[in-house]
Symmetry: C2
Subunit: 123 residues, 2 copies
DNA sequence: CAGAATCCCGGAAGATACTG
DNA sequence: CAGTATCTTCCGGGATTCTG
C-alpha cells in the first residue's frame, strides 16, 4: 500500500540524493514555500523567513536561480527593487515537497516521541 | 494540476524544514533507499552506498534509529552481527521520498542545463 | 533596498588507529 | 564484524561593514 510509484532500484540513487541536497537545504525549502504565494522582494522574504542572514538568503536565492527554480527580476529604480518568483520548474517542485510536508505533519508526534524515548534510554 | 494536496500556508513551514533536514540529509536518504530492499548489515550498507565513512554511517544510522525510522538488531555472535531494518514509519517515508526522486529524475536534464547556462553567463 | 566583502568561529566530516 | 576514540581539517554560516 505504500508501494512507491517510482522504484528505488533501477536508477542511480545518488541523483535523488543530490536533488535532496539542494531541495532539502533548510533555507531553500522555506524560500520555495514562501514564493509559492507569489513573487516576493528580497527583504520581504527575509522578514517572512526570519532568522536567515542576508548572506544566506542571497546564497540560497542564487542557488535556486542557478538551478532554474527561481527567476530574479531587477527593476532599475532608486531605490533598487528585485523580485524573486518561482519558475514553472520551481512550481512543479511544490507538489513533491508538499507530500513530504504532509508526511512530516502526519508523523511529527511519532518522531518526537521516538526521540524522547531514545534519549531517555541513552541517558 | 500541480495543486498540492497540502497547502503551505496554514501550518508551520519550519516543521517541513526540520523534517527535510533529517530526511534530506545525504546519507540518510541513501540508507532509507537501500534499506527499502530489506534488512541490511552494517558493512553491507557501507559497500552499497560507497564513499561513506564508517563514522558517518554510524551517525546516520543512529539518527534514523533515534527518529524511529530504523531498527537496530544485535545478534550476540562471534563475530558480531547487526541488522538494520526500516520500521513501518521508515517504510512510509519511502513514498514521499520516491515522489521527490521521480521529480529529480524527470527534471534532471533541465536542472543541469540551467546550471550550465548560469555558470557560463557568470563566467 | 539589495546586495558584496571581510572576518571569524563552531561544528561537520574525513583519516587513522584501536577494541569487544 | 561493527563499531568507538581521537585528531585534524575544512567550510558553512553568523556578524559586521561598506556600496550602487
Amino acid at each position: 500500500m505504500t508501494a512507491p510509484s517510482v522504484s528505488y532500484e533501477g536508477h542511480d540513487c545518488r541523483m535523488v540524493s543530490s536533488v535532496l541536497a539542494r531541495v532539502g537545504d533548510k533555507w531553500s525549502v522555506l524560500v520555495v514555500m514562501y514564493l509559492g504565494g507569489g513573487p516576493k522582494r528580497f527583504n520581504e522574504l527575509k522578514r517572512m523567513i526570519g532568522g536567515v542572514s542576508q548572506r544566506m538568503l542571497t546564497l540560497t536565492l542564487r542557488g535556486l536561480e542557478r538551478d532554474g527554480l527561481v527567476t530574479r527580476t531587477v527593476f532599475p529604480t532608486i531605490p533598487p527593487r528585485v523580485d524573486y518568483e518561482l519558475t514553472d520548474l520551481g512550481r512543479s517542485l511544490r507538489e513533491p515537497v508538499s507530500a513530504l510536508g504532509g508526511w512530516a505533519q502526519a508523523h511529527q508526534d511519532e518522531i518526537e516521541a521516538s526521540r524522547a524515548a531514545f534519549d531517555k534510554a541513552a541517558g
